[in-house]
Amino acid sequence: MAQHLKSSSKSILLNILRHNIGFSSPSHASRHLRHNLPHGPPSTRLSPNPITRYCSTMVDTLSSIGSHEDTNSQVMDFPGGKVSFTPEIQFISESNDERVPCYRVLDDNGQKLTNSRFVPVSEEVAVKMYSDMVTLQMMDSIFYEAQRQGRLSFYATAFGEEAINIASAAALSPQDVIFPQYREPGVLLWRGFTLQEFANQCFGNKSDYGKGRQMPVHYGSNKLNYFTVSATIATQLPNAVGAAYSLKMDGKDACAVTFFGDGGSSEGDFHAALNFAAVMEAPVLFICRNNGWAISTPTSDQFRSDGVVVKGRAYGIRSIRVDGNDALAMYSAVHEAREMAIREHRPILIEALTYRVGHHSTSDDSTRYRSADEIEWWNKARNPLSRFRTWVESNGWWSDEAESDLRSRIKKEMLEAIRVAEKTKKPNLNHMFSDVYDVPPLNLREQEVLVRKSVKSHPQDYPSDVPL
């Protein structure tokens, strides 16, 4: 099989070549062939093309002669690879006999299962993980209460999903770029976003990095590689694939990571992004928080497949199902997935099973569509915090005293953060018009003039906490 190679002219491309060669296995060399291209004269295609993408991965290497060797097995070269024929009229079943098993390390009570394999965490990391899970839970509680008291306009909690939030963040590096849905503030928390910064965004004051333009919980921080939350469902998935493509072009030791829910997996962008990521061989982790509910829609009304994990194979993506309420399992799964994604330039799909203990948001009352008993059971009996705490304590790394110290400190910090955020002025009026473009064009400058004229003639109708 002739190797198709194209000329390159930039040193930056040669850097990528060196990087790729370091990670590729010998079997990749034969897969540089692109099947449906016209063949050119060999003399014009001699220098190496460092950025040729590999063609269809598994199909070429799969054995085409399955168990039909005894029959008169003919093999046909349809576009896409060889397939063997079968005289049986067999439909592939719509589901396996058994559901895909779920990886976990700790049992329901937080005891390590005897034969569980996991990536070890140091005391420092484990204590930070547990503390951040507590912080996230408390932050959510206090912000939720603030909304109920009318001090915040809106909030969405991540109750029940603390392990997914924190453990996945802990397993990533700060250079990995995050494309969140909206229930992953824990990743920001792990990376160092302070309670004050969270509060500033929720109150939309002038210290908010988003300059008060977005709803609460729509955080974003370019410093921490956490892309601003866009409320539209699953649109961040193709964005993440693009970021992964960019990281791959630059040869960086980093991947893109994107989160979405069970509901998000129904969106067209989910399917397209997975397909694209597989074809582009992009280093991206797709982490699905399957928490059982999309507002009031249970998963039985969302899809009829065995959850989200089985969809990975349909696109040629390696996948795993994890107990999302088990912090150690999440940590290990994300850690391993990240390695694979970067080393092998492939996307990975992780389905983290969990339960959305809280309401969808402050605009929702979930007791209208599910039983309060169910919610209570998941909140108490299957709580990710208590399971992990048991394990951390069993190593002698935590205590009741540490717990109460932490909780009282966080509570004080939170109340102070809210107090300060509430009092801080809102962003100036000119920020209504800035950042639409890099420089405000004439029409926007005119519109600002008109608004200011209006405000001047009706000052009593203008909010007092928005500086002019």
Binding site: K6, S7, S8, S9, I12, L13, I16, R34, L37, N49, I51, T52, R53, V177, F179, D208, Y209, G210, K211, R213, H218, G220, S221, N222, F227, T228, S230, T232, T235, Q236, L237, P238, N239, A240, V241, G242, A243, A244, Y245, S246, L247, M249, D250, A256, G268, D269, A272, A273, N275, F276, V279, M280, S434, D435, V436, Y437, D438, P441, L442, N443
Partner: protein
């Protein structure tokens, strides 16, 4: 792409095939098939991909095989491309160029004859330009790639075969500037893209008949170059807009409103706008011809306005 290694191209069949209108011909051979990326068929996905790549430092040029297909990318273009620089508080920029052939062609059928500039013009945060000659195509493309804002560059299916001598060296055309095609005194004709050529054809007839039309190719569809346009209106006091968009909600509709609002005092006659009818473009060649504005209609309109 030579000058800046961050510039890349993505779209359907842009790589080894060279693009459905051969706009990206030879690029994949030169820059490799990762920088000139062939994507699976999902406009929303590769537009979203381009946006994500732009947020991480690349400068993608996203091609819609036909602009009409970008209707499928509307979600990403409106909600993410247009908005994220604003909602992130300026933390993330999205320097993408979204381009492709659009407009009414020769018997391409209704689905392939759409004028997307109508639908996109309201999206805050994006800029829109339309090229019409080889000269401004090169200049606008370069300017669009170098701009920090997301820019949608509208090419026209029937203009790819135009030939013109243009400078070899680098030059850019200002994205917000209109082009004075033919200065004149009697009437201002505002147009863009393919209709510019119909207008210039009509101009020949008009000159023979003794008229002196001023023809301006507005080029910048969002925002409008009201400076150039305004100066022209103040000189001639009569405006005719010739566009390919449909009557309802097109660029002409917005431009009419803008001129009336800003230059009402300078007008001696109401602004007239010649547009395509509000019908899906029929396949039959003869019918198709009559859905777009023809030079004869432009001549009649000018005569009417100049009475």
């Amino acid at each position: 792409m030579d000058r800046d290694p961050h510039v890349c191209v993505m779209g359907e069949d842009v790589g080894h095939y060279g693009g459905s209108y051969k706009v990206t011909k030879g690029l994949a051979d030169k820059f490799g098939d990762l920088r000139v990326l062939d994507t699976p068929i999902c406009e929303n996905a590769f537009t979203g991909m381009g946006i994500g790549a732009a947020m991480t430092g690349l400068r993608p040029v996203i091609e819609g095989m036909n602009m009409g297909f970008l209707l499928l990318a509307f979600n990403q273009i409106s909600n993410n491309c247009g908005m994220l620089h604003y909602t992130s508080g300026g933390q993330f920029t999205i320097p993408v160029v979204i381009r492709g052939p659009g407009g009414v062609g020769r018997q391409l059928g209704a689905e392939h004859s759409q004028r997307l500039e109508s639908y996109f013009q309201s999206i805050p945060g994006i800029q829109m330009v339309a090229c019409s000659t080889p000269y401004n195509a090169k200049g606008l493309m370069k300017a669009a790639i170098r701009s920090e804002n997301p820019v949608i560059l509208f090419e026209h299916v029937l203009l790819y075969n135009l030939k013109e001598k243009i400078p070899d060296e680098e030059y850019i055309c200002n994205l917000e500037e209109a082009e004075m095609v033919r200065p004149g005194e009697h009437i201002t004709i505002l147009t863009y893209s393919r209709m510019r050529h119909h207008v210039m054809q009509a101009a020949k007839t008009l000159v023979n008949k003794g008229y002196d039309p001023e023809v301006i190719d507005i080029r910048s569809l969002k925002p409008f170059d009201l400076y150039t346009i305004g100066n022209s209106v103040k000189k001639t006091h009569r405006v005719l807009i010739v566009e390919e968009c449909m009557r309802t909600g097109g660029i002409g509709a917005s431009l009419t409103a803008a001129i009336n609002e800003n230059f009402h005092d300078y007008l001696d006659a109401p602004v007239m706008c010649l547009s395509s009818q509000d019908v899906p473009t029929p396949y039959a060649g003869t019918l198709e011809e009559w859905t777009v504005v023809q030079p004869a209609q432009i001549v009649t309109a000018v005569e009417q306005l100049c009475q």
